[in-house]
Symmetry: none
Subunit: 234 residues, 4 copies
Amino acid sequence: MGDNASITGPTPAMNRPLTARGVRTRTNLVKAARALFERNGFLDTNVGDITARAHVAHGTFYTYFASKEEIFSEVVEMLLADTRRIADEEPPVAQDGWLSERIERANRGYLNAYVANARMMAVLEQVATFNPRLAQVRRMSRQYSVQRSAEAIRRWQGRGLIDLRIDPVYAANSLGSMVDRSAYVWIVLGESYQMDVAVEQLTRLYCNALGVPYHRDDPTCASTAGLRAEVVTT
Amino acid sequence: MGDNASITGPTPAMNRPLTARGVRTRTNLVKAARALFERNGFLDTNVGDITARAHVAHGTFYTYFASKEEIFSEVVEMLLADTRRIADEEPPVAQDGWLSERIERANRGYLNAYVANARMMAVLEQVATFNPRLAQVRRMSRQYSVQRSAEAIRRWQGRGLIDLRIDPVYAANSLGSMVDRSAYVWIVLGESYQMDVAVEQLTRLYCNALGVPYHRDDPTCASTAGLRAEVVTT
Amino acid sequence: MGDNASITGPTPAMNRPLTARGVRTRTNLVKAARALFERNGFLDTNVGDITARAHVAHGTFYTYFASKEEIFSEVVEMLLADTRRIADEEPPVAQDGWLSERIERANRGYLNAYVANARMMAVLEQVATFNPRLAQVRRMSRQYSVQRSAEAIRRWQGRGLIDLRIDPVYAANSLGSMVDRSAYVWIVLGESYQMDVAVEQLTRLYCNALGVPYHRDDPTCASTAGLRAEVVTT
Amino acid sequence: MGDNASITGPTPAMNRPLTARGVRTRTNLVKAARALFERNGFLDTNVGDITARAHVAHGTFYTYFASKEEIFSEVVEMLLADTRRIADEEPPVAQDGWLSERIERANRGYLNAYVANARMMAVLEQVATFNPRLAQVRRMSRQYSVQRSAEAIRRWQGRGLIDLRIDPVYAANSLGSMVDRSAYVWIVLGESYQMDVAVEQLTRLYCNALGVPYHRDDPTCASTAGLRAEVVTT
DNA sequence: TATGAATGAGCTTTCATTCAT
DNA sequence: TATGAATGAAAGCTCATTCAT
């Protein structure tokens, strides 16, 4: 009715402290939402579905979230945090070792994280195509990793390890796109692949592109037997 | 309504011959649809918008198309055809010249085609996230070019031009992803880039990855002055 | 979803020409709306009620009106036009006759119009308390008649018929309020009254207030027998 | 829910004695409610807004009031009491003085009370349009003052001060409506006015209507310089 | 008394699609 | 072919009120 109404009212999703019961309910909603987003995508999931799955009344949803978008954002936050966590779980490599070992570790971490969260990654991709706010979230996340890569490339160029004709930003962008999109194609679109081969091939291309020697090609290096396995393309 | 829809009734969009007037109306609808899809995306374009822009009655739409999806498919067909056409417009390079010239030509063609159809490419990306049929269309289109690339790589391996440790299918997939996704990031997401630099850098990375020498790095080759221009990243 | 959607779409309630059927449906909706607004007020009438009473589907409402407010505005337009028409139906009085005859005619016309549209007047009063647009409509309507009265008073002052210590605008406001609110109290709130007495008393007070002689008090004037009838107050 | 609500359970708002703390909470709620009703009207004030402003939990509201309507009623009680109090604050006039002095005092008192409570008066007007109980409250309040006026008129008629052709009840109703509605128009609707002029003009019209001489027009009476000041009409 | 989570009926609005003309 | 009115299933969101603690 009026426009100037309810400025003071109980804004949902504000960071007020919740009781134990509140925390439980809220968590149930988020879990239910994630499961449904993964199964049906954002568009085909409605608030009614979420509350039904969480066994609460429809209105309860709005005690905790102002909109479907808001709960989705929350799920995405979790997703990105989880992705970073998984990527970091890869056993670290010696700082003074092969560059390619570092690159391979990053690639393997990325693919593993993608596998663990493939459905949600796909849904985020979906939502980013029509929701500016989430497009922005995804973009920031992308830019952050591109920047880190670009800096690494610049550093390596400073140490004479990489050809100066390579532009760090373009290269970071493109090689990042390669890894990211390959993951999408394999894992989300379902092109057949084998994890080990995928990591090896991606890393080989990545290293070659930058002119960095690949440790697996060095005969003295601990090896990579059995990687060239059969690959069926759908 | 809906369920017992006539199976034998006048199926719209059947390939029966159209009168001159029919052809005109249909064309107007497709043009209007494309313009609106580009401007507003698939979800935010209604059938009512399309018919209004085409200056026909709402119901007329269903004389020619069975659904919003169907007209979208038609626009996409046009899009893909146009994309291929533009990509092929690149002046051909000598069959016996540098491999990298062929690669560069393909990359330039792809980026140019992307620029010409960026909006629709983005919308196709959108629709593919929730419409299986269009996901399939896009997938087939991707697989087709991946296959061509894979064959080329295999051929070049046969001629000893490319390292045998590179798997043709994985490489075609990943390098294709690199080009495709870079185009998306630059052109659709709006990351700042310069076309010439983008083509050069993409091609350099592509060639390096495959171990193919880049013709622009050869001092005897007709050169590429001024490419390393200033690049601002957003 | 997007914000920039559907600028070209079929805006409802636009003044496009309607087919006969369209006119019929639209009229039915307005009639149903008016009946329900009168019976239940604005707040307790919902779009579903209106369409049910008009025997059309819920969605059909939005083919013709953008909102409940819009159809209400239309009903109010009709109401005000009708009110003016009824008020003007009073047989005119001689321009050179008693001033009080003119005043009485206006009062009788106003009360008659109020009786014919009492319920809607009450509802308009209701809506005006929370809807700025309709508050404005009602205000304009009030100011218009106040201005006309004020000018008449000023004119009569110029002809020496009315005390100059009376401020035309204040007087027009207050005497207008008297007639208007008395009508509301009698007709809407249901205080018991008799039309003839009400007109006579209102006019007498009005004339006295302005110092204008009342024609009914003149023994030579065609008279008003039986007006002082019994009056029961609730 | 709703239907089988306990009849025997702890009825809220019952007149049981409150602890000091209870009194405090209750008072806070009423204060908060009044402030919000005045600012946003009845419809745009939620129970949640009220409790938030009173710094108590949502549920606490129902410890003291059975419904939103009930707290509104309470605020209205306060309002009416306050209105009467302010109206009575006008310095009394001599019982044997001019009748018009008594009338002017009453009018001034009414307008002053209206000014002090304009917002709530407007909201009461709003609620009375859809809530029978509050319509009744307002009606009783109106009838009470109409009756007092009617009796006064009747008394004055008995003393030969007022024309017998004036019906006391109709006149009390109409002149009361005049004062009441003029106040609404000036103070709530915001038509421009000056308090002194408004009181003088209202009283003049009132007295004229009843045929009572206005003391300010008597040259021997203590006068009212500067009342006909500039008046801007919106 | 106080809390705040939970309830769920109820509302407006959208829009792809159908159908009588 | 063309028309445009009619359809009706959804969907998101609000909020007065209840209730377990």
